[in-house]
């Protein structure tokens, strides 16, 4: 019997984040001194809170895996790695937010509170070992994000984004919940205790015992519905419709945060659940492959014609979800040491995706520091003359997203190719190759707009505001993107523990 303190210790980082959220909420609304200096206090406290959470997360990295709250939450290296990535994404997003919000006159304490609460939800998702916990944490994440998407409440696009995201998200939640209910019903015969369960460990044990024979129709439909829900959240084609509108409409700092955070969290969950479903991988492997292929082609093809960079990056993030999904398929198909390799490679790609997505949105934020939102390709015209730093950092991110060496995106793609081929998924690898060719076109389009075109209108009228935080965040992501592209050793070591998923 584990004590309460052990239970709490298992979700310590998440708790720290939540408490920080309350502190910011109360401080901003109750303390006049705090409120008057809100634009310094809010991000600072948020930053410190997340950093402390990450610190505790890191110190626990070597600890033994354990479950808590009667098995509802699991604390294993995989979840810790995932929490680490989530925290890094949140910190980068906070750094990017400050000046941007000020420029857009959106500087409110709630922003950081919502960031912290959504992070709390995401961290719980990473550690949830029970479908109910999972659902609650997904909703915690999502509801905070719905609000964040509409945070620029004076802008129609932002409102539209929030509403769209909310409605479709609610749909997805419905699918997910209904799926969970059916899985619960269908798990009746699976569990060794002879009772229905939503606990992943027990479902996993049951499936391992019964194999395909134990899968009832109800269970199967439940799984399918659950995955529709996940696919909505992860923006896999054909459940991606909300993504471009939401990414485009939301304030850019929110888009950066959302693009990275939800992907990390949802793919953590997908990996965990699929590792539970490994005994019946023959059922879902084909579907997952099809989803991956559809997603990478759909995202890339739709991105080609976009003139809005945010929208293009939204489609590109869909395509990248497809690449990550390919890694997930490899996890399901690979055996033995390749299984672990597939997990660590997928996590590496997620990390790479986090850095380059936040980085590229970060450059847009950096360029918006003159008060005008920088969104379209036209805004980027001739950038290299106006703002060489912005242009050349954007270049690195575009190359990284396109998977061109010497960047982290290339290394990630190499790893994905590696695991796909070692899992015998050559057709999927070839599809990834074709999809990358398409993607290079639109990434290079950004480059040529920035570097080869003359600026067609004078945009340098207002004086740029200082934004050290933005510059710092971009700098970190750019350096890491290049460094891990040539020497991924450090990132690999950092992510290595992820291979032990407790439920297996």
């Amino acid at each position: 019997m584990v004590g309460m303190s052990d239970n709490l210790a298992a979700i310590l980082p998440a708790i720290i984040v939540m408490v920080t959220g309350f502190i910011v909420l109360l401080g901003d609304s109750c303390l006049p001194a705090w409120r008057n200096n809100g634009k310094a206090f809010n991000p600072a406290v948020t930053f410190v809170g997340i950093a402390v959470a990450l610190f505790f997360d890191m110190t626990r990295m070597g600890a033994k895996s354990a479950t808590a709250f009667s098995g509802a939450v699991v604390d294993d290296p995989f979840s810790r790695i995932s929490i680490l990535l989530l925290g890094v994404a949140a910190i980068l997003a906070v750094l990017l937010s400050t000046t941007y919000l000020e420029n857009k006159k959106l500087h409110h304490g709630e922003y950081y509170v919502l960031i912290l609460f959504s992070l709390f939800g995401a961290m719980l998702m990473a550690g949830s070992n029970d479908l109910i916990t999972l659902f609650v944490s997904i909703e915690t994440l999502s509801v905070a994000l719905y609000v964040l998407a509409g945070f620029a409440r004076t802008e129609e696009r932002s409102e539209e984004a929030a509403l769209k995201y909310f409605l479709l998200g609610a749909f997805a939640a419905g699918f997910l919940l209904y799926g969970i209910a059916l899985v619960y019903g269908g798990s009746y015969g699976l569990s060794h205790t002879g009772q229905a369960t939503t606990n992943l460990t027990e479902i996993g044990a049951g499936l391992a015992g019964s194999g395909l024979g134990g899968v009832t129709v109800m269970f199967g439909i439940g799984l399918a519905l659950m995955f529709v829900g996940f696919a909505f959240k992860a923006a896999l084609v054909p459940f991606h419709m909300w993504t471009p509108d939401v990414y485009q409409g939301s304030p850019t700092s929110v888009t950066a945060y959302m693009a990275a955070l939800t992907k990390i969290a949802i793919f953590t969950v997908i990996l965990r659940i699929l590792s539970v479903l490994t005994p019946i991988s023959s059922v879902w492997l084909m579907t997952a492959q099809l989803l991956a292929i559809l997603t990478m082609f759909g995202g890339n093809i739709l991105a080609v014609t976009q003139d809005n960079v945010k929208r293009m990056l939204a489609y590109s993030s869909i395509a990248h979800a497809g690449y990550i999904m390919a890694g997930v398929v490899a996890v399901g198909a690979a055996e033995g040491k390749f299984h672990d390799l597939a997990i660590s490679s997928t996590m590496f790609y997620l990390f790479a995706y986090t850095l380059m997505t936040i980085g590229s949105f970060g450059v847009l934020i950096w360029l918006s520091r003159r008060g005008r939102d920088c969104q379209t390709l036209g805004d980027l015209k001739g950038l290299v003359k106006r703002d060489p730093i912005g242009a050349y950092t954007m270049l690195v991110f575009m190359l990284s997203l396109g998977g061109i060496p010497p960047t982290m995106g290339f290394m990630g793609k190499l790893m994905i190719f590696n695991v796909l081929l070692s899992a015998g998924l050559t057709p999927l690898a070839l599809c990834l190759g074709f999809a990358s060719i398409i993607s290079v076109y639109y990434y290079l389009r950004v480059v040529w707009m920035m570097c080869f075109m003359e600026p067609d209108r004078e945009t340098i009228t207002e004086h740029a505001t200082e934004s050290g935080g933005t510059l710092f965040a971009i700098g970190v992501t750019v350096v890491l993107s290049l460094f891990f592209g040539l020497a991924p050793y450090l990132a690999q070591t950092l992510l290595a523990p992820a291979t032990s998923i407790l439920v297996r």
């Binding site: 040491k337 010497p406 570097c451 080869f452």
Partner: protein, 621 residues
């Protein structure tokens, strides 16, 4: 030479690029589009206030182009062309090896492994040599000079690295990374349709190479290593694994590699990016693109496709030879009708590289050596053509052939230079092009892959090249001066002389004293020819004549000492170690060691061609 000389050589330009980044950006010069007579050369009439930042940029860039050149020259002179290690495959002749562990993904180990043999060192020397000229030429770039130099130096790092890399992933990373500076050179500094050309160039190459990446990983799955020394060596476990694998799968892998290289060369159906890229690129970009980057494709065939997949290469030789011949004839015909002076040169590149591919897929030592020397030749004559077209463009701001004519009267020295380059490209005897193309045709003629008919078709390419190049020259330089604007064009400036003279020297050095150059690469070329199984068409009398080469295959019997006298290279003032190292008299009958291809091989070097001139040559030297 220090142990890591290749790393130093590769990354010196990168250091230069980084230093340049921190230097002051010079003012852009006004882009004078003053058409015609009074457009002057700035070298001759320097602007009153010369921007010190410009000079500084040029000096630093030149320094970091010269340093690698001198270093590679030193390596080239110290290099032992007869070096033979006790192994099979490419590794037999690789020197200056550097080997470090680099990246591990699971139990996949990517190594930082570099080394050069006679084939690659020539290309490296060509790269550094051309880069000095390009930097020298490009100091006149008016806008964004600093970026131009940075991209040129970055490009040089990539190019040298590609020719040094012995690990497949290292090779791939450099091969891809090098696209970026070239993309920028075309995209920023090119002409009107530069963006179209740049993106086309990038997409074509990327489309080919992404599948090569998959094939590289798949090769690793089969053989367990990225090290091409091991992979190319059939006695090595990795090489044996690769060779004994399912031939169908190997064919796919081979095709993926071959596709990437075909696009890069570019061979016939994939050549469409080249004219665009060449025409739109700035002069220095075209020179490097034609001079070195296309060679990466042929180098890829020689270094990867043939040694790693010899059987598959043999099987596909017919296809490649057919495509090469189609390319030669088609590109020659298309070149003839181009109204654009630069585009004509671009199409001539396609034709010339068709010859190189023909030589490679002849699968005998003559063809291979011809291909290798033609690689170098094309890397000298075509950049020279591009430089001169660039100079014309700067004077007249047009590349339309009809806009010129009769320039011989106005700019006699430039006309002479252009004539030399043209004749070199046409492959007239005494010029370097002849050595390469004749050897290739000879190799193809005696090869059972090629044969008489193929060679006859390919040989029409030589005639056609005379047609389009000489006609081109005639329209540009001969006849009356048709346009008033052409009457007062300035002749070559001092800096232009400096750029062109070294190229002329090289044209005649290779044209007249080719054995000096072929001797550097004949040992690896012959080893490669042996390793992939030479193709001789013994039914033809030439095969019988060249049966003199056969002792190499029956090397175990020992080499007759009298062949040794034939061996002495006519030009060897720089390499006293040349004949000392492998002594054939103490030769052991151990198979790996005994394969001394030097002796017999010398018989069929392009010296056959030059043999009539040999007395003259040695008299001069």
């Amino acid at each position: 030479m220090p142990q890591n000389v290749l790393s130093i050589l590769t990354f010196l330009p990168l250091v230069g690029a980084v230093i340049l980044l921190f230097m002051k950006r010079p003012q852009d010069l006004p882009d004078d589009h003053g058409h015609g007579a009074h457009s002057h050369d700035e070298e001759e009439t320097p602007k009153p206030a010369k921007d010190p930042a410009r000079t500084a940029i040029c000096v630093v860039a030149m320094l970091f182009a010269l340093l690698p050149f001198l270093l590679s020259l030193g390596m080239f002179l110290q290099f032992d062309p007869g070096y033979t290690a006790n192994m099979q495959g490419i590794g037999r002749h690789i020197q200056y090896i550097e080997d470090r562990s680099w990246i591990s993904i699971g139990d996949m180990h990517i190594r930082y492994k570099m080394g050069v043999d006679g084939i690659s060192i020539l290309l490296i020397l060509l790269t550094t040599f051309l880069m000095v000229l390009c930097v020298g030429y490009s100091c006149r770039t008016k806008t964004r000079l600093k970026e131009f130099m940075v991209f040129l130096l970055l490009l040089e790092t990539g190019l040298i690295g590609v020719f040094c890399a012995l690990d497949l992933i290292l090779f791939y990373i450099l091969w891809e990374a090098m696209l970026i500076p070239m993309y920028f050179l075309i995209g920023i500094f090119g002409h009107e349709r530069r963006i179209h050309a740049a993106i086309k160039f990038f997409l074509f190459t990327f489309a080919g190479s992404i599948f090569m990446l998959i094939a590289i990983v798949a090769t690793y799955m089969i053989a367990g290593t990225f090290d091409i020394l091991a992979l190319s060596d059939p006695t090595n476990p990795a090489g044996a694994l690769l060779r004994n694998h399912d031939p169908r799968a190997l064919m796919y892998l081979y095709s993926a590699f071959a596709l990437a290289f075909m696009i890069k060369v570019p061979m016939f159906p994939f050549h469409t990016w080249l004219p665009d890229a060449h025409v739109e690129a700035p002069t220095a970009g075209s020179a490097i693109l034609a001079g070195v980057m296309l060679k990466m494709g042929t180098y890829g065939f020689i270094r990867f496709c043939l040694p790693l997949f010899p059987v598959q290469a043999q099987q596909s030789a017919g296809l490649f030879i057919t495509l090469a011949v189609i390319g030669i004839i088609y590109a020659s015909i298309v070149a003839a009708v181009q109204p654009d002076a630069k585009k004509l040169v671009a199409y001539s590149s396609v034709a010339h590289l068709g010859f190189v591919v023909l030589g490679i897929f002849s699968f005998n030592r003559i063809g291979l050596q011809g291909a290798l020397i033609q690689n170098i030749n094309h890397g000298i004559s075509t950049p020279m053509l591009f430089f001169i077209v660039g100079m014309l463009y700067e004077r007249r701001h047009t590349r339309e052939i009809t806009e010129f004519g009769g320039l011989k009267m106005v700019v006699p020295f430039m006309a002479t230079m252009l004539l030399l380059a043209t004749l070199s490209s046409v492959a007239v005897p005494f010029f370097n092009g002849f050595v390469g193309e004749f050897t290739i045709l000879q190799g193809s003629f005696i090869s059972s892959n090629g044969g008489m008919i193929t060679t006859a078709f390919a040989a029409t390419g030589m005639i056609l090249s005379a047609v389009y190049m000489l006609w081109w020259f005639q329209r540009l330089m001969l006849g009356p001066v048709k346009h008033a604007a052409n009457r007062h064009l300035p002749d070559l400036s001092r800096s232009e002389w400096l750029v062109l003279t070294p190229l002329v020297v090289m044209i005649f050095w290779i044209g007249l004293f080719s054995p000096y150059w072929t001797s550097k690469m004949e040992v690896p070329a012959n080893s490669l020819a042996e390793a992939i199984g030479e193709k001789w068409d013994t039914s033809q009398p030439q095969g019988a004549i060249l049966a003199g080469a056969k002792p190499v295959e029956s090397h175990e019997e020992g080499v007759k000492p009298e062949t040794k006298t034939e061996v002495a290279p006519p030009v060897n003032e720089t390499k006293p170690t040349m004949d000392g190292t492998p002594d054939p008299n103490t030769e052991q009958p151990k198979p790996a060691d005994a394969k001394k291809p030097k002796e017999g091989a010398r018989l069929n070097t392009p010296r056959n061609i030059a043999s009539s001139r040999r007395t003259e040559v040695s008299a001069k030297w």
